[in-house]
């Protein structure tokens, strides 16, 4: 190992011998690294928000259902536990939040229009911690309690139905005996969501009010649990699984909403491809720099070999030179990414392309997210691929015959 300081010293000095070329290459690496990390931060922010919005709409992190509910989401497949039993099982389990719901398909009718929606009978207090609805931004008011007699719908749905706060609508769904359950409600609030389609899809009732309308006693169709991190739901999943028996199915959010789950997996793959593509562009510059650096000092390499350096040491020196170049470039790129992402974390207003963003479930405010693991990924990929790219010129240098190299002209 005593040879390492010698190789590092030589590599460092040779790197700065042609400082102009080194600075140009460093700039390229820094900008490349910055572009990788900045784009990752934007993409992560967008996906995080899509998923977090998506999870807060319906799935939470983990859910339990009657095993038949996922195929037939009707009131005839309820959770086989009473509300009291659920309170007993999960009341003190330490989840960030949990809530039991009635969730069934329904039709809402105004005096002018009707629309198919998802009816959510909720406990407003329990869901406040994770729902996508900002209770304080509701036109009118949100529900107060499980027995609130009002109905809350999205502002967009109200537009479609040509109704509004204070007006009455009729909600209709299928009861437990396959007969029609319906009832008139007064609209007490219109909610706004980041994604317009959410405003068109959901209507909220108090849980007890929904149970009364559907004539199902205190039955519910779904219980939702929220943990600390949607990327790591296993602790919540295990805790819920341990508390229930085979009469219910426990599902992670990735299983409940396969679209969102697939986005998350695809995003990780996309990040890697993005990093590799940028590196490939960089690698041409890197290899060219190293080839030039080797070519212009053939005689000196011959001298090093003649003085007793082994070919492997020459190879190591060139590789170290490349690693130093990439290391410094990455460090600068990381810093640049940090100082450019941090001020944007409060949000980038993309309302000018809001419709486009909404098409794939994203909101018009983008909150970039700089994750350490993404920075590490970009750095590791560049260093590993840079190492491989530098092997060719380094190998070439180490294969020189000392006497031919020393006597080479020009």
């Amino acid at each position: 190992m005593h040879i390492l300081p010698v190789l590092v010293q030589l590599a460092w000095r040779y790197l700065w011998r042609n400082h102009r070329r080194t600075i140009i290459m460093l700039s390229a690496v820094s900008v490349g690294a910055w572009a990788m990390i900045f784009m990752m931060a934007l993409s992560r922010g967008m996906v995080d928000q899509m998923i977090s919005d998506g999870i807060s709409v319906i799935p939470g992190h983990v859910q339990i259902h009657n095993p038949a509910f996922l195929d037939d989401p009707s009131i005839s497949n309820p959770i086989p536990y009473s509300q009291a039993e659920l309170e007993h099982k999960f009341g003190d389990s330490g989840f960030v939040a949990w809530a039991s719901r009635v969730r069934v398909p329904a039709v809402v009718m105004s005096e002018r229009e009707s629309r198919g929606v998802t009816l959510l009978g909720i406990d407003p207090a329990a869901e406040r911690k994770f729902t996508f609805v900002d209770y304080d931004r509701v036109d009118g008011r949100f529900l107060d309690a499980v027995d609130d007699n009002g109905l809350v719908m999205g502002a967009k749905l109200a537009d479609t139905l040509e109704t509004g706060v204070g007006k009455r609508v009729v909600l209709m769904s299928q009861g437990p005996d396959n007969d029609i359950a319906d009832r008139g409600f007064r609209v007490v609030g219109l909610f706004h969501a980041n994604v317009e389609s959410y405003e068109e899809s959901f209507v909220f009732l108090g849980r007890q009010t929904a149970q009364e309308m559907l004539r199902i006693g205190d039955e519910t169709t779904e219980v939702v649990f929220v943990g600390d991190d949607y990327r790591n739901v296993e602790p919540v999943y295990e805790k819920v699984t341990a508390a229930v028996d085979d009469s219910v199915a426990v599902s992670r959010w990735t299983e409940v909403d396969r679209y969102l789950g697939t986005i998350l997996k695809t995003m990780d793959g996309f990040m890697l491809i993005w990093v590799v593509v940028i590196f490939l562009a960089l690698s041409f510059g890197l290899v060219n720099t190293l080839v030039m650096a080797v070519f212009e000092r053939v005689r000196e390499i011959g001298l090093l070999l003649a003085l007793g350096m082994k070919p492997g040491m020459v190879l190591g020196q060139i590789v170290i030179e490349s690693m130093l170049l990439l290391g410094i470039g990455l460090l600068l790129g990381d810093l640049l990414a940090y100082v450019s992402v941090k001020p944007l974390e409060s949000g980038i207003d993309l309302s000018i392309v809001a419709k486009g963003m909404e098409m794939f479930g994203a909101s018009s405010i983008l909150y970039p997210k700089l994750y350490l693991k993404d920075v590490i990924l970009a750095n590791v990929v560049v260093l590993v691929l840079g190492f491989l790219a530098s092997l060719s010129p380094a190998w070439r240098a180490s294969r020189y015959e000392p006497v031919e190299a020393i006597t080479r002209v020009g």
């Binding site: 010698v6 010293q9 001298l303 070919p311």
Partner: protein
């Protein structure tokens, strides 16, 4: 004891369409502690012979033995180890590593050998003083004259007390006073440490220091005489 033995070695270079015999069935034996001067007109084969003895160039045929080991069949790594441990080189030109200072150039071989930093520093400063480069230890080659560079190269070749020193025109670019000082240093190493010297030179002043003169012509030894050194 034999330090160097070359047996019937041949080396032919191709220049354009012409084959040039740099070494032509040459044999020579040099004992440990000898001080040998190789003389020849340009193209006589001196540098090729030094390169073959130093393992920098492999002859087309014949055998080269250094310190009892046959080196013409060694791998690149083995040759590098041999050069590092036992041979000091002074090349005709392009002698120094341009990105290192004079002291770092002198320390370089010791650094690769794994000599501790304090010892390296002490030895390198001492030898730079001996070759008359006191105060220039932190200069880079580009900041030194040709003669000063040559003296740094000589200092590097002898600082780790190798058993064999191969020098190709070591006094080229040196004035007569510095040349004499350098040759006195070589003589001192030769006599007190039994370092073997093989020096290729045109310089008659250098020849006076040699105990053995080997005259070469067209890749062959045409005269091999012993003399009383100056």
């Amino acid at each position: 004891m034999t330090a160097v033995r070359c047996v019937d070695i041949c080396k032919t270079y191709r220049q354009g369409d012409v084959d040039i015999k740099a070494l032509d069935h040459l044999s020579i034996e040099v004992d440990k502690g000898e001080f040998v001067c190789l003389m020849s007109p340009s193209g006589g084969g001196k540098t090729t012979l030094l390169n073959a003895i130093g393992g920098l160039d492999i002859p087309d045929s014949g055998e080269v033995w250094v310190a009892g080991q046959r080196i013409d069949q060694m791998s690149k790594g083995e040759l590098a180890d041999l050069r590092l441990a036992s041979i000091g080189f002074v090349f005709q030109a392009y002698n120094l590593i341009p990105v290192l200072t004079a002291r770092e150039n002198v320390e370089f071989v010791m650094q690769v050998q794994g000599v501790p930093a304090a010892e390296r520093r002490e030895k390198s400063l001492a030898i730079l003083g001996e070759v008359g480069l006191d105060g220039l230890e932190d200069r880079r080659p580009a900041e030194m004259s040709g003669g000063q560079q040559q003296r740094v190269a000589v200092a590097r070749a002898i600082v780790s007390r190798p058993a064999l020193v191969l020098a190709d025109e070591p006094t080229a670019n040196l004035d007569s006073h510095t040349s004499s000082g350098l040759m006195d240093l070589f003589t001192e190493l030769n006599e007190n440490h039994h370092t073997t010297f093989i020096i290729a030179t045109h310089d008659r002043r250098v020849m006076r220091y040699a105990k053995r003169l080997v005259r070469m012509l067209d890749g062959r030894i045409v005269e091999d005489i012993e003399q009383h050194a100056a």
